[in-house]
Symmetry: C2
Subunit: 317 residues, 2 copies
């Protein structure tokens, strides 16, 4: 199994990425390799600095870098030799089983759409994030930013692909799907959410438990938390800020520590023909390591194929 | 000054309300009275039980009660002698300067619209909530639930009325207005939020600082946090749940303790011709006391008249 990682992506790249990759080294499954994409002349000295010469590391040269502020579509067109473009090319040609980057989020999303592309029945791919629960488990929330405006049908599809993720990566049998809303009653919420509620209720492929409120996010009431990318993004960043505030106050707790982006590592893009994880721009070595471990789990479970199968079942049912 | 309070409203009414009113007693400003609305035969024994005979309490008889689960409009029509209906009647006839209740939220909102009514230029009233900041101050967020779907013009108006509240009740000069969004750039977000951004940018009556993200909610980056009632409700309930989780873990901190609904007491309805505060259904005596104190502050500053003046300025400018 080959996991490609953008060595040039993130505010603290390439140092933090190389260091994170070395951290991941100890936990790599047998017969797997890390493909570090970037400028060999900066990556090799960093590996040397850490006196690292693990045999399952490979440097894939990429002479260009897409910077954080660049326009995604333009940058991808103008920089075919960028680490992000080359990462997707590795994924497309099956030389990599997963690709992850803490670089330009927009370029990662657009790159996925242009290279490996969305799965045929997918209306729009979603970015998801793990959500810790107070009882020590994880749920999944989607979308957290790819789609600000969502139609009811899209929210319904998020429920399906989120359920496939929860079953396969979180090992949850018949994951409970909750629709994030301002009240429990089905007539509550925006017109879109009210319509989505009806679709979810009729969707036999999922285990819909109804609306969940802001107070239910961390309780494990639902395993798959469905919302538009606007709401999900606000929730995700608010949770991250809660962790930051607690950390600044020197308050540590096993549950709240999981709200730290470093612990989760990255946000998978679901609904594309490959395994892609986007990391936080400020990723530390620990965050990079956990992003790589998440990418490995996705590759091991072939989550993109499971999602494809699940969607096909719908049409053949 | 007369503050009317629904003695029958809330999951723990009338006990918790009467007890909360007694707690507020010590802090009442001179020449002010509390009007306890409800069934005298249950209120008086509770006052007696607490051996309370303060002269500035008055029981206003109301023979009916609107229960938490009742349909707001129907209940108000069918129960003209309910404590909520009578509370609004006191407000409308100026026998009360403010009215607060921890009862049926929908009935409180509908009751306000049918009795004292929305201020002429108001598109739709908003429910707001105080938001603690890490530096020890408070901001205000609106809407937190009255309007799930909001047009750009409505978000623009929330910014205006929220600014009036922040100036007069939080004593903030030129309060900074932030539009809650998934990114800082003005082209980010839903179509509605993008359009609202443009209106806010051009609005000379407010101090617009741009988009703010989920991570900025508690930093004090903005004093007035503008969002639709769907997003605001999720944020508010998520913040409350963070407090609950910390409390269950026996973690106490002056900042997070302010996320406790009890500390804030209630959510004002802004944009109606009177001072109305809605309390949490599960209000404890402490929450009731703080709801009363908030209602007093609103009545003292005549916030509803200030909002009316501010909106008129727009049309005469």
């Amino acid at each position: 199994m080959n996991i490609a990682i953008d060595a040039m992506g993130g505010d603290f790249a390439p140092d933090a990425v190389v260091e994170g990759a070395i951290l991941a080294y100890q936990e790599l499954p047998p017969n797997s390799s890390l493909l570090l994409i970037g400028k060999p002349e900066v990556i090799q000295p960093l590996l040397d600095k850490h006196q690292f010469n693990g045999g399952n590391f490979q440097i894939i040269p990429a002479s260009e870098v897409i910077e954080m502020g660049e326009h995604p579509t333009k940058a991808l067109a103008q920089k075919p030799n960028s680490s992000i473009a080359i990462g997707f090319s590795l994924l497309q040609t099956k030389r990599a089983d997963a690709f992850c980057s803490a670089g330009n989020t927009g370029a990662m999303t657009v790159g996925a759409m242009f290279s490996i592309k969305a799965i045929e029945q997918i209306l729009r791919p979603a970015i998801c994030s793990l959500v810790p629960t107070v009882d020590g488990h994880y749920g999944i929330i989607l979308d957290v930013g790819a789609n600000a405006d969502c139609k009811p049908e899209l929210l319904d599809q998020f429920a399906e692909i989120g359920s496939v993720f929860a079953e396969n990566l979180l090992n949850i049998d018949k994951p409970k799907v909750g629709l994030i809303n301002l009240g429990e009653e089905e007539q509550k919420g925006t017109l879109v959410v009210q319509a989505a509620h009806q679709l979810l209720k009729q969707n036999k492929k999922i285990n819909f438990i109804g609306n969940i409120e802001g107070r239910d996010i961390f309780t494990g009431k639902a395993d798959v938390l469905v919302c538009d990318g606007f709401t999900g993004n606000v929730i995700l960043k608010m949770a991250e800020s809660i962790y930051d505030i607690l950390k600044n106050k020197n308050i540590h707790d096993s549950f709240f520590d999981k709200m730290n982006y470093e612990a989760i590592g990255g946000s998978p893009i679901l609904g594309v023909n490959g395994n892609v994880v986007i990391g936080h721009g400020v990723s530390s070595p620990l965050a990079i390591k956990n992003m790589i471990m998440l990418a490995i789990k996705m590759a091991q479970s072939n989550i993109h194929l499971k999602i494809k199968e699940a969607l096909n079942e719908k049409f053949s049912a």
